[in-house]
């Protein structure tokens, strides 16, 4: 054991300084983090990927971040502006942020309101291709009231104004560093993109794209006692299983991210007692979309569009309900997700305020009930081939998803259960880069939905579901006219629903917004055009000697890395 420690120690150049929790800055030595998908840049505005956003969150900060409960915590801002404290205008058309006093960039220069204004200009430049541009949707202008005060003006009332400059995906960058990098020049600023100057607890020492990042403690960090670690090595590469192994079995790393591996394998590794698996649940839901339009290949180019007409049987909520009842969600979790999943009956499972409890019947599998339901509705097997007919049309479905071991396991199980209620499913899987690729010329994208049923995970970032729930408006149905863009994948359309969306966009009080969101969720659920399966969480692991981890799925999971420390042995 001792020899092994020496080797590992030498390898990772650990400093074996025994320390107590919450000591001075930089006294806990080196922190080793492994992200098996390596960050390719540290500018989150040029890459929307989670890995880049989270790596950059060690350096770049926002006015405020979300903690593990989804509550806002001021970071660069002195406090959280609200209508009550006057930070948010009464008519909800502007929000005014005040920067902390004496806030400095890691290069020692002061942070001013101009940096925020510049950030807005940078990301909204028409030629920049900013990946986080949606955070500035509805922002009319950003102005510097004085050196420490930033006002964000919206084009119309914004009941939830915490989008721009909030969360890891919308950080403030230094105007001085990126001044020459506006628009088309953005990619040419390699030095700035690979080594942004920030206000976070760490500063970039070395960046190797898609490989490794070395961070050093930021000497100008606002809290003089933080961070406890003097160095962070942020290694990328490999696969989820080997990343888990390096934390839970060999102890070479302190923190590993996104460990979506076989749950039993993960549990075995954790049993070694070196590290702990942690999870955080956000809003990701693995769901089935039931095509409300007819995807019959005989229809050619008009299939899965309004012109093709409604689906022969999936528009009937009874059918959807039976399909949902036949599924054992707990078994799906056990087989494919382990700690990283929970059965759910809602497409909007969190935050708590928005989560409905009206649909929880689906948590228990009920094949007999599903059969009875279909029999009662007169949907029976008329020709004795074991497959029910709906108005003479046999209930055969094409069930597609992206290529991924867990999804294929799920597909196989679901097919089995559906065959027990007389529904025949043909399975298909498509490479993720094609399925999610959005190429309008490809017939295999999830937007085109040339199938009866498809399965994938979606979520929304931040804590406010307004924009997410607006996805299911009639106007958001993908069609050839919209180049197949639009998020209403199952082609759900209801005037009542659209009315609720409009109402929510005008409602500010949180309680009222919660009620509306739940109502919309229930309306979707009762249409059975969408069948939620698993509420998916992020799964990470950290060494038992690492303290202070408060994993959040509402923000970068490294959001509070400044508070992390080494637990003395």
């Amino acid at each position: 054991m001792k020899f092994r420690h020496l080797v590992l120690g030498a390898m990772a150049a650990f400093a074996f300084a025994p320390t107590t929790a919450m000591a001075e800055r930089g006294t806990d030595g080196q922190l080793n983090i492994i992200y098996w998908q390596a960050p390719s840049t540290l500018n989150p505005y040029l890459s929307g990927g989670t890995k880049e956003v989270e790596a950059a969150s060690l350096v770049l900060e926002s006015m405020a971040r979300f903690d593990e409960t989804g509550a806002l915590v001021p970071f660069m801002a002195a406090d959280i502006p609200t209508v009550e404290n006057g930070g948010v205008a009464e008519d909800l058309t502007s929000i005014t942020w005040t920067l902390r006093e004496g806030l400095m960039w890691s290069d020692g220069t002061p942070v001013t309101a101009n940096d925020a204004v510049f950030t807005w200009q940078y990301c909204t430049h028409p030629e920049g291709g900013c990946a986080q541009a949606s955070y500035f949707d509805g922002v009319d202008s950003v102005e510097a009231v004085d050196d420490r005060t930033v006002r964000v003006n919206f084009t119309e009332a914004k009941p939830f104004p915490y989008t721009a400059f909030v969360g890891a995906e919308s950080p403030i960058i230094q105007a001085a560093q990126f001044a020459d990098c506006l628009g088309a020049a953005a990619p040419e600023c390699t030095e700035a993109n690979f080594g942004p100057i920030g206000t976070g607890p760490f500063a970039v020492e070395e960046f190797r794209p898609n490989d490794v990042i070395v961070f050093a403690a930021n000497e100008n960090y606002r809290n003089p006692d933080q961070p406890a670690f003097s160095r962070v090595v942020f290694k990328g590469g490999g696969d989820a299983a080997s990343a888990a192994r390096s934390v839970l079995e060999t102890g070479e790393f302190d923190y590993a991210w996104n460990l979506q591996i076989d749950p039993t394998l993960l549990a075995e590794m954790e049993a070694n007692g070196i590290g702990t698996v942690v999870t955080a649940f956000g809003t990701s839901v693995e769901r089935l979309h039931l095509n409300q339009f007819n995807p019959d290949p005989a229809l050619g180019d008009i299939r899965s569009t309004a012109e093709a007409g409604p689906h022969p049987f999936l528009t009937d909520p009874i059918v959807g309900q039976a399909l949902s009842m036949a599924i054992d969600r707990s078994l799906l979790v056990e087989v494919g997700y382990g700690a990283g999943g929970q059965p759910t009956c809602n497409v909007l499972p969190a935050p708590e305020l928005y989560a409905s409890t009206a649909n929880d019947d689906c948590l228990v599998q009920d094949i007999d009930g599903a059969n009875a339901l279909l029999d009662e509705a007169g949907i029976v097997d008329t020709d004795g081939d074991g497959i029910r007919e709906y108005n003479g049309i046999p209930m055969r479905v094409l069930y597609q998803t992206s290529t991924n071991a867990v999804r294929q396991d799920t597909q196989a199980l679901v097919k089995q259960w559906w065959s027990e209620i007389g529904v025949d499913a043909e399975l298909r899987n498509i490479d993720a880069s094609v399925f999610f690729g959005g190429d309008p010329a490809s017939p295999d994208t999830f937007q085109k939905f040339y199938a009866d049923i498809e399965m994938y995970t979606n979520n929304f970032s931040g804590v406010d579901p307004e924009a997410y729930m607006a996805n299911w408006r009639c106007s958001d149905i993908p069609s050839p006219e919209s180049q197949w863009q639009g998020a209403n994948i199952q082609r759900f359309c209801s005037e009542d629903y659209d009315a609720l969306v409009t109402e929510m966009s005008r409602t500010a009080p949180l309680e009222e917004r919660g009620r509306l969101a739940r109502e919309m969720n229930d309306m979707l659920m009762q249409s059975y055009s969408i069948i939620p399966l698993i509420h998916r969480g992020g799964v990470s692991a950290h060494a038992n000697s690492l303290g202070g981890v408060r994993m959040s799925d509402w923000d970068s999971e490294l959001w509070n890395i400044a508070e992390w420390y080494r637990i003395a042995e």
Partner: protein
């Protein structure tokens, strides 16, 4: 020989241009989208803007010509400027930019080259050094116990894929025994003896896995080539001359057997630069193989295009090297 080499080099130019066009077309026709790996929370119009900022909305021939100009004119000029310090007016020159990292591809390749050459290059050398004696002795004592054992081991080396053998050695040597690290530290710098030992330790596992494969291939080849030559008349002549067995085998047979083996070794060198995609992934060496597979997955066409083209250049180049070596080693072959 010189005219031959120059002629071959000139002939390589149209070949390579054609290869680059084929690569470009294949990559363009393949369904891939650089924004596909982004979270679904990023809305489609933002994705369209991203694609436009990458230049994807230009027609294909413009993009190809742009790449040609960037790769064949701008990059060499930049390199020249960097090495010599001359001012060649680099302001307006655009470089080949990776879509994933938004930084010049050539810089990333230069950054990745050392670890690939260290790990894959070392295993190539180690593999050859092990393979040659095994091949020679196996052929000299054909069907002996040693030869049978060698055949078995090389069959294992051929048939066991590195994603299995790599994980196996990690579980044995890194997890259970704790002798070697399972993750390669690319930032490690060798400055003194202890740091060299660390470098050695982190290289042992990946080199072991790769060398097994290389040894399998080359030792089989060496053995076959030796067997071809051992039965030749000139070997009998050498024995009739009364030479010692060592001289007969190591001078007469080996020198002739090495001709094809050396060319095979030369032809294998581009693979060293190509990295070992799976082994690099397993040990997180993050060299060129890892760069390539990551670029493919991320739909990063400029990186894939540039890397595959560099591999094509190396393959053409080392084919020429192999031919020239053949000419040098075998007096019966004359090119002029």
């Amino acid at each position: 020989m010189l005219t031959f080499t120059i002629r071959r080099l000139l002939m390589a130019i149209p070949t390579l241009l054609f290869i680059s066009l084929i690569i470009f077309l294949i990559l363009d026709l393949a369904p891939s989208d650089p924004t596909a790996s982004l979270p679904l929370t990023i809305p489609p119009d933002v994705r369209a803007d991203i694609r436009a900022s990458l230049g994807l909305d230009e027609p294909i021939h413009i993009r190809f010509l742009l790449w040609l100009n960037q790769f064949f004119v701008n990059e060499p000029l930049n390199l020249l400027q960097h090495w010599t310090g001359w001012d060649l007016g680099g302001e307006g020159r655009t470089r080949v930019i990776s879509w994933q990292t938004r930084s010049p591809v050539v810089d990333i390749i230069a950054q990745r080259m050392p670890q690939t050459l260290w790990v894959v290059g070392t295993s190539y050398i180690v593999g050859i050094l092990i393979a040659l004696p095994i091949g020679i002795y196996s052929a000299y004592r054909q069907y002996s116990i040693f030869d049978q054992a060698g055949t078995f081991v090389t069959m294992v080396g051929f048939s066991v894929p590195p994603f299995f053998s790599g994980v196996l050695v990690i579980v044995i040597f890194a997890v259970n025994l704790g002798w070697f690290p399972s993750v390669y530290d690319t930032t490690h710098v060798v400055v003194d003896w202890p740091s060299f030992v660390i470098q050695l330790k982190q290289m042992i596992l990946p080199v072991m896995v790769l060398a097994l494969q290389i040894t399998s291939q080359i030792s089989r080849f060496m053995r076959a080539s030796m067997l071809d030559n051992l039965n030749q008349d000139y070997v009998r002549t050498a024995r009739a001359k009364g030479l010692t067995e060592t001289v007969v085998v190591m001078v007469h047979v080996l020198r002739n057997s090495m001709i094809p083996v050396v060319t095979v070794i030369a032809l294998g060198v581009p693979q060293v630069f190509g990295g070992a995609i799976i082994t690099e992934q397993v040990f997180k060496v993050n060299g060129l193989g890892h760069l390539l597979i990551g670029a493919i997955q991320g739909g990063d066409i400029p990186t894939v295009q540039t890397l595959t083209f560099i591999f094509a250049v190396l393959i053409v180049l080392f084919n020429l090297v192999a031919d020239v070596l053949y000419g040098i080693l075998d007096p019966r072959i004359r090119y002029d």
